[in-house]
Amino acid sequence: MAAGPTRRAMLAASAAAVPLLVSACRGIQVLGTPPPPGRDVRALQSAISGERALISSYHSAIAQATAAGSGDRATVASLSRLLAEHHQHLAQLTARLVEPSRSAAPPVKPTPSASAPAGLGAVIASLAAAEQAASARLASQLLAVPPSLAQLMASISASEATHLPVLHSLGKSR
């Protein structure tokens, strides 16, 4: 229980010390500059923004499938189920990141490809490409993070890989 606060205190102390040391050489502008985040923090932030982008793309696709009419009810149901898993991914990832509220990530805007006028088939194909890219990115980033985060990222990467056959079959049925 004491390890967390102690580590935070140490991190806070080093964050304060570094700008002071640097400021001796470079002047006052560098005072208060936060230290660059570690590799694991960057990997986690990247995974979080990746999930947010996927969620946003799914929302666009579901809106389009809903607008397409009742014939796409099954597509909407399938996409909604995959979207629910991404929400679970995001919740687990954000639970691992303790960061100052001021640096909360800005809301992700829908990707241009998702909002551009395109057939639902093309939208689903771009979702599949995004899933594949996200899965591959996690698979490479999990090599640079602590074991427990690596396990979460591996699991999410595997889950996203299983979304591909679902999306491909949705695309084929169009």
């Binding site: 967390g4 580590r7 935070r8 991190l11 806070a12 964050a15 936060p34 230290p35 985040p37 570690g38 694991d40 923090v41 986690l44 189920r81 995959l82 629910a84 898993e85 679970q88 991914h89 687990q92 639970a95 691992r96 990141l97 303790v98 960061e99 100052p100 899965s135 698979a139 999990l142 090599l143 993070v145 602590p146 074991p147 427990s148 985060l149 690596a150 396990q151 979460l152 591996a154 699991s155 999410i156 990467s157 595997a158 889950s159 890989a161 299983t162 979304h163 056959p165 679902v166």
Partner: protein, 163 residues
């Protein structure tokens, strides 16, 4: 374990995880024999493909563990099936259970700091998740992770940043 010097530098933790994965693959090889016996048509073909995949994985793990200077765990003569199998539906359910168990075993590989072993675990975890999804016709949010391991995640953040 033998006293000989490991041929490759693999940590004791990684060896233990590799042995866990090997034991899971051995059980899967046995189980898929049962799965295949109750299926016909495309499902039987898929069971055969998956069975071969598990045999290949088992043999590679055996070689990796031997190469690291350890004795691979021996396979059991027979395994108690987690569910009784008397039908095609039960055979498909058994396949999903076998894949889930293999997934959990590979998750232990992802948890080691040896990056080659970790990367192997991640690749195999993805393969087993794909097979499980094909058998169950559904997907899960966290292949290889138990709900208890996920519940604990929030209580110990991996990363803390100065405020």
């Amino acid at each position: 374990m033998t006293r000989q010097q490991p041929a490759a530098t693999v940590s004791a933790t990684a060896i233990t995880a590799l042995q866990t994965a090997l034991a899971a693959e051995q059980a899967a090889c046995y189980g898929y024999g049962v799965v295949g016996a109750y299926l016909s048509g495309p499902d039987a073909s898929r069971a055969h493909v998956d069975w071969v995949a598990h045999q290949v994985a088992r043999d590679r793990l055996t070689a990796t563990i031997s190469g690291a200077g350890a004795d691979p765990v021996p396979a059991a003569v027979a395994y108690k099936l987690p569910i009784p199998v008397r039908s095609a539906a039960a055979a498909r359910s058994l396949a999903v259970i076998l894949e889930d168990r293999v997934a959990q075993a590979y998750m232990s590989l992802v948890g080691v700091t040896d990056l080659e072993v970790r990367a192997l675990g991640a690749v195999k975890l993805r393969e087993t998740a794909l097979r499980a999804a094909a058998w169950s016709h559904t997907t899960v949010a966290f292949p290889g992770l138990t709900s208890s391991s996920l519940d604990g995640a929030g209580s110990k953040p991996a990363i803390s940043e100065p405020g």
